[in-house]
Amino acid sequence: MAAPAASATSEPMRILIIEDDREAAAYLVRALREAGHVVEHAADGAEGFHLADTRDFDVLVVDRMLPERDGLSVISGLRQKGDPTPALILSALGQVDDRVTGLRAGGDDYLTKPYAISELLARVEVLGRRRLGAKEVETVYRVGDLELDRLSHEVKRAGKTIVLQPREFRLLEYLMKNAGQVVTRTMLLENVWDYHFDPQTNVIDVHISRLRSKIEREAGPPLLHTVRGSGYIMRAGA
């Protein structure tokens, strides 16, 4: 299968998948391995908890409903033991309240089944990178000759100031924070607008093209790329 181009460039991560559906698990394992990651699989909650507890992983992908021990209990169990490994919850329950309970149990992100594999890959990579934590403390993000100051809210391209609306600033901030990684439209809607519903029309595309018209220069190389079938990526160079 064709993995998004961005995945190949990111460093490999150790990922644990806890999922009881054999077929779904096999598909996930294959997709994540093709993206260059090291993947382990556990078929029930008890085994998953044991593996997560005794071995070191960068990201956990946990199905919410599992035999032996349900996904939320696995995550809250790990959190109680002080294990901060980022966890992505997969669930067929997709309402607002389900998401809230999932995140309260200690999950870091929530993805509703059925999902696009590109969505899952993008989220896993963002979670894995978050663990490194570097971006959270940086005050200035740089991609190519584009510069964003998180404290003064100043954006410059090749030294020239660009004026952005507050939402445009947050959109660019999120894209640059995850520079080099694919972010999906849903991720943008969730993280920049804090909405978890489907806006039907591709509102995000319109916002992106507006942002693009402000930050891209005719002379300079493009920085904000569209990844077909997935989303967007901020990257210097092609």
Binding site: Q95, D97, Y195, P199, Q200, T201, V206
Partner: protein, 472 residues
């Protein structure tokens, strides 16, 4: 039920009997007391009288007077004895022992026998029991050791008491019989009505949802219960009909995208030799699948919101903030279509809502307005308004499109209903149903109006606890 009826009747009857007995006891006791006082007064008067006779005519005169009075018909009791207890005069043959021992008024009644004299008209052989009576009397001791007794027969009072007791027993017995009779009539009738209701219920449970509980028209408790249950049944039948219609619609409306999906998959298979065509066909398959997932999500959400099985978490939220956010999200879309999206909202308007759901509802309305609002010649001009009034607020989205004919405004709120004119545009036909469900879970309503030209969709929401005055 039978047990309850019997127990209630018994308690009722018991209470009534106790009250009746208390009343009768009170009446008899009071009457007896009055009669007793009267007798005492009469005796005291007579002793006074005899005392004056004794003072004026001495012992002989007293004995004669008493002898005379004893013989009169219906006379009081009289007795004069000497110091040894021998009877000198009077109409008393014998007394209970010890009555004469203490001077003064007798403590309670005592038994005595009257002489069987001619005035009684009874033979000497009359049974002793007939002549043995109860009486009360006062005994006066004379200085020479003689004793004078003046008394009154208590037979009348005794008879009165017997009559009252008999009446009480008779009344209680009648009451018991009456109660049994009434219970038999009323209770049995009530039970029969309940049985008829049970039978109707059984038929309804058996699947006949058109069956209704019997209503007699007396508007009593049973009728009211039956009428309410009938309303309930009507509502259930209506909901069931709606449910059946929705599942029919779902089956029908999901077949369409499934057919398209299948067609595209077949195309992909046929175009396997042309990788570019196959790829775009497969992308189409995924697109169709995604659209179906969205439809299912919307359906699930509507049914969960409607069923109220998952109460949403509400918080005090500024509606003007939501309006600004959603408008900001869609403004570039309006601009891209060459139209405008403007906001008229005075904030803050604080209400207890789910920010996510209200934003979703508003986003749906704005999305609809941008999609269907404009016409071929005119780009969409959409206005979002927020106005608070008292404890309610109105959130409305107005467009400049063709609007919706009045006779179809109710129908577009139904799941999957789409106007023929919009069938060729993307959409699931669930948007307004979802908005309606979100409005109703917040205790609000959804209304469609003619904006001449265009459509005005208004969500009327209660502001909830936020604006209730502190003393209210």
């Amino acid at each position: 039920m039978r047990m309850t009826a019997v127990r209630l009747s018994a308690i009722y009857l018991g209470l009534f009997a106790v009250f009746a007995a208390v009343l009768v006891f009170y009446v008899t006791a009071t009457t007896a007391d009055i009669l007793h006082t009267q007798s005492r007064q009469a005796i005291a008067d007579e002793i006074e009288d005899l005392a004056s006779v004794y003072r004026s005519t001495g012992l002989v005169g007293l004995v004669r007077t008493i002898d005379l009075r004893s013989r009169q018909p219906g006379a009081s009791l009289y007795l004069v004895t000497d110091a040894t207890g021998r009877i000198l005069a009077g109409n008393v043959q014998s007394l209970d022992a010890g009555v004469l021992d203490d001077a003064g008024f007798s403590e309670g009644a005592f038994g005595y026998e009257r002489f069987a004299d001619g005035s009684d008209g009874e033979g000497a052989d009359a049974a002793r029991g007939d002549r043995y009576h109860l009486a009360i009397a006062e005994v006066v001791a004379l200085p020479n050791g003689m004793r004078v007794l003046v008394g009154r027969d208590q037979t009348e009072q005794e008879r009165f008491r017997v009559i009252v007791r008999g009446a009480l027993i008779l009344a209680l017995a009648l009451m018991g019989v009456g109660a049994l009779f009434a219970w038999f009539l009323v209770g049995r009738q009530a039970l029969q009505r309940l049985n008829r209701m049970s039978a109707s219920t059984a038929r309804i449970l058996g699947g006949d949802l058109d069956e209704r509980l019997p209503v007699t028209g007396t508007e009593d408790e049973f009728d009211r219960l039956s009428a309410n249950l009938n309303l309930l049944l009507g509502r259930i039948a209506q909901l069931q009909k709606g449910l059946r219609q929705v599942s029919d619609n779902i089956a029908h409306d999901l077949k369409t995208p499934l057919t398209r999906l299948r067609n595209r998959a077949e195309t992909a298979l046929a175009d396997a030799s042309e990788p570019q065509d196959a790829r775009s066909a497969l992308e189409g398959v995924i697109g169709e699948a995604d659209q179906m997932i969205r439809t299912f999500d919307a359906l699930l959400m509507i049914s969960r919101v409607e069923a109220g099985s998952h109460p949403v978490e509400k918080a005090e939220t500024d509606l003007a903030g939501i309006v600004a956010d959603v408008a900001e999200l869609y403004e570039p879309v309006a601009e891209a279509a060459g139209g405008t999206l403007s906001v008229r909202a005075e904030g803050p308007v604080i209400a207890s809502v789910s920010r996510e759901l209200i934003a979703q509802a508003l986003a749906n309305l704005v999305d609809n307005a941008l999609k269907y609002g404009g016409t071929e010649e005119r780009p969409p001009v959409v206005t979002v308004e927020l106005a608070a009034e008292g404890d309610r607020c109105r959130l409305s989205v107005t467009d400049n499109g063709p609007g919706i004919p009045e006779d179809r405004r109710e129908r577009v709120l139904e799941r999957f209903y789409r106007l023929d004119e919009s069938r060729n545009k993307p959409g699931s036909g669930l948007g307004l149903s979802l908005v309606k469900a979100i409005a109703s879970i917040h205790g609000g309503t959804l209304r469609l109006d003619d904006a001449a030209p265009g459509l005005k969709v208004t969500i009327d929401l209660p502001l909830g606890t936020a604006v209730v005055p502190a003393d209210g």
